[in-house]
């Protein structure tokens, strides 16, 4: 190739006659791309204040600021992110890690101001901030700043396919419905090591769950320990707040999982199953925990009832050096846990593991001992420095419709099947109720039918006042019951138990329910008397609720016991009832009626007993 000509460059002269390409800013503007990464937008209603954006920010540009006007609620803190635009690099990691997807980036990117303080901004979006976000026609680039931004100018937004968190949980291995309904085998198999670690790795450590947990377990810490493959450490963290992990790991109502930030757009972390993993993995709690009760302090506490609240009080007090005696009329510990949750959900080994550990600390358990018969309540109140009452709700209520005395009561039925002799079951059984006890009863009935009448075409049906949308049973239980073949009859109310000539149950006459609650939200069922239906069946089990049994308290003392408006035992901030030295907790005190709230009550009562016996 020879030397190029010197004339060719002159062809460029033609460009003299072409229009320039340069945009004349600010008169000619260039629209940013649809997914431009500009200033932040934050939907305050959706934001949970979890602080993940602040944690991931590579430049520490995001600070969580407490907003006093926002009421904290389940799964939501009253904190919102504040961005320092002197540090922000507009990488958008905060957007990709935001669990609710409330944090987004807009296409605005110009901020001019003399005051560097204005570069710190608490982002809201055009929904909440009408003042600083103006419609496109009012927008002027000459005024463009963090306080003059365009409405509807969303840019880089979160996409569930590209998030930095995993919205899907590791599936829990379970026995399939058609197999598990044939026996009382435990339905949930439990995570193995790999599965547990993988599931634990999903935790974002935002701790919204810890606020939601009544007992405020250090969930984030014990999950992290599982992820780090240190189940010992995990168990120690759990025992700081919860002495019954094998039980809670199976039957907890898990308010934590409802609060989990992953549950907003995906599946929540399996916090309950991970706790169960820890409890099941460690064979010897005593060896792992190495807890020794402190020096005896010379105070004695009697605990009535070895249920979750009683066990927890005993455990916490024992660690403080109290001498604790627990009385229970059952042959073992667990209380309602021992008699209520069916074997396929909570086997006895799980209960005994927790109880045995508490006993090994030196708590004296007196089983098969009924307070009021074997020992007198007033003696306990006299002889001990304090008495804790965690007796639970043990008496099933009846519908009291005509011939209701022919029906079976759910709690008795469940108790006998679990720790006594299995009941003889009917071939076509009706369960009245829509709560978790009713569902447990129905599923247990189904199993008994399959065991007692294999392949005989048995039927289990429930009838509940509530329609699907307001059924009190947990979604999980409803789904599993359906999978196993329980037939539901929602929005029907029992009117009469119909008997045949021999006086045996023939069926249940039901009337259609118009509404269950009145306008004030109080329970006041309204029936359509014209619509009746006869549900056929040879056995009816009532599972419409339960109440406590205070018959062991002498009448003159019982009169002094005060109640709340919702018919719960009234306790003060120390967990003490209106009777001096008598403390209470668990289902007779709280409305949640679950184990973890009972533990929370027990923690209050423990501190209360300590405060009253050793005033500071």
């Amino acid at each position: 190739m020879g030397k190029p000509s010197i004339f060719t460059p002159f062809k460029a002269v033609k460009f003299l006659f072409k229009k320039p390409k340069t945009l004349r800013y600010p008169f000619e503007l260039k629209e940013p791309a649809a997914h431009y990464r500009g200033f932040h937008l934050n939907d305050w209603d959706a934001c949970t204040g979890c602080g993940n954006c602040s944690d991931i920010c590579p430049n520490d540009a995001i600070t969580m600021i407490e907003i006093p006007e926002i009421e904290p609620e389940l799964g939501k803190k009253n904190e919102r992110p504040q961005i320092d635009y002197g540090r922000c690099c507009f990488c958008g990691l905060c957007v990709d890690v935001c669990p609710p997807g409330s944090l987004r980036l807009s296409r605005d990117y110009i901020h001019v101001h003399f005051d560097t303080g204005t570069f710190i901004s608490l982002p809201k979006d055009d929904k909440a901030d009408k003042e600083n976000f103006v419609p496109a026609e009012e927008y002027s680039v000459l005024k463009a700043s963090l306080t003059h931004r365009k409405q509807d100018y969303e840019g880089f937004v979160s996409d569930l396919d590209y998030t930095l968190f995993d919205p899907e949980r590791v599936p829990m291995p379970e026995i399939p419905p058609d197999v598990r309904k044939l026996s009382f085998v435990e339905q949930v198999i439990g995570y193995n090591r790999e599965e547990a670690r993988k599931e634990a790795s999903r935790c974002l450590e935002c701790k919204l769950c810890e606020d939601a947990c009544p007992a405020h377990l250090k969930i984030s810490d014990y999950i992290k320990a599982i992820y780090e493959d240190k189940p010992d450490e995990s168990l120690r963290k759990i025992y700081e707040d919860n002495p019954i992990p094998s039980m809670c790991g199976r039957i907890c109502m898990k308010p934590c999982e409802d609060a989990c930030s992953l549950s907003i757009r995906g599946e929540s972390l399996s916090i309950r199953w991970l706790k169960r993993y820890t409890a099941d993995t460690i064979a010897d709690f005593k060896k792992t925990l190495e807890q020794k009760p402190v020096e005896p302090i010379g105070k004695k506490v009697a605990v009535i009832g070895a249920g979750p609240s009683g066990l927890s009080v005993a455990y916490f007090l024992r660690l403080k050096g109290y001498e604790v005696v627990v009385f229970d009329n059952l042959p073992g510990g667990g209380g309602t846990m021992r008699t209520g949750p069916p074997l396929y959900r909570l086997p006895l080994e799980g209960i005994d593991k927790d109880v045995d550990y508490i006993a090994s600390l030196g708590v004296d358990f007196k089983f098969n001992t009924k307070v009021g018969e074997d020992v007198m309540f007033e003696d306990l109140l006299r002889d001990y420095d304090a008495v804790f009452m965690g007796i639970g709700t043990t008496v099933s209520r009846s519908t009291r419709v005509k011939n209701a005395e022919k029906c079976t009561l759910a709690l008795d039925f469940l108790r006998d099947n679990k720790i006594g002799e299995k009941r003889k079951i009917g071939k076509e059984v009706i369960i009245i109720g829509g709560g978790n006890v009713a569902l447990d009863t129905a599923r247990e009935t189904l199993r008994l039918q399959n065991m007692q009448y294999p392949n005989e075409g048995t039927v289990t049906k429930t009838v509940s006042l509530e329609d699907w949308d307001e059924m009190p049973g947990s979604e999980e239980e409803i789904t599993e019951s359906k999978e196993e073949g329980v037939v539901f009859n929602p929005a029907w109310g029992p009117k009469e138990v119909v008997l045949n000539e021999e006086g045996n149950i023939k069926g249940l006459l039901c009337v259609k329910v118009k509404s269950v609650f009145n306008e004030e939200g109080k329970f006041a069922p309204n029936f359509d008397e014209e619509k009746e239906m006869l549900l056929e069946g040879d056995m009816i089990i009532e599972a419409i609720g339960q109440g406590p049994d205070f018959s062991f308290i002498p009448a003159e003392l019982l009169e002094k016991l005060e109640y709340t408006e919702r018919r719960k035992v009234k306790v003060d901030k120390n967990g003490m009832t209106s009777i001096q030295k008598l403390f209470a907790g668990g289902d007779i005190v709280n409305l949640n009626l679950d184990a973890v709230t009972a533990i929370a009550d027990a923690k209050i009562a423990t501190e209360g007993i300590d405060n009253i016996l050793f005033p500071h």
């Binding site: 190029p4 460029a12 997914h35 507009f90 990709d96 974002l204």
Partner: protein
Amino acid sequence: MRELELYFGPQHLGMVGNFSITLNVEGDRIIKAASNPGYLHRGFEKLMEYRTWIQNFTLVCRINVIEPDSMELMYSMAVEDLAGIEVPERAEYIRSIYLELARVGSHLFGLWAYANMLGFDTVANWAMYHRDLILDLFEEITGARVYHMYIWPGGVRRDFPKGLKDRIVKTLHKIGSGVPDYDDTFFNNRLFYDRAKNVGKVTRKQALEMGAVGQVLRATGMKYDIRKIEPYAAYDKVDWEIPTREDGDAYSRIWIVRDEMIESVHMIFKLLDDMPEGSVYNRIPNPFKWNIPAGETYVRCESSRGELGLYMASNGEDKPYRVHFNTPSYSHGLTILEEVLKGESVADVGNIMMSLYIVAPEIDR
């Protein structure tokens, strides 16, 4: 004649900034040249030891302003290698297309700098305009014009938006239609020929001894390109040629830049046609609990300036233990430049430096 010491940069018309050369001259001839890097030292390699694996993803792009994308790729490849993360096939195609766009953009920027240096302001402005068109595409793909933060471990951050293929083709055709103008005004310009021919010659022997890569090596006739030698992304799924020249001078190097751009555009068209459907991201572990198993790796790619390497070691924690980049500008700017400048005239310092495609931020990391 008296020997003088002359400071060329960092404040000098012929210097793009952030770099300087101390020249010992005798009249117009250079006797000795010494490169002074460090004006832009931001300590990236050390900084990365204090940031988590995901946070580093936003940092690496800043090592090279002109072509941040190959830095992103290097980091992602190293993390994927250490952590054993697979990349979906579609993401591999997207990476290749995106990196070739980056190469065109980077070469246009280089052409701007070089043409500017020689006084060809018209061509320089065209190159800048055309680079902006590429940046428009990047803005659409990634949400940012310069620091894209797009390639991340496990794939890419978002799929291509709808209709992007047409817009890429349209943009590249628009830039392509300017090639005859570039040729007439610059590449086939007698002035360019006279200024660049036989200037800043690097022989094949010198190139190999001093660790030259990229255009500097290919201008000596070596068909050396990591995309061929050790294909990554989707480079093994498409046919293309390595442009080379024989003379080893500034003229050859700049012509290679031109030919590479054209080759890249053809490659992008082919990749766009063959691109499979599917996901573009295999989710990485939770960034707050992401510990990468202990180990070390060395990955390399062909950036627009030549072979770029990354050594990374993990000791099993949530942050890298050691990160070290092997950048082409390092050998070009520190060893080769000093050698090549000997005996050249002072007027050619900027010419030679830009033809070696030295990017100062890449040296200071």
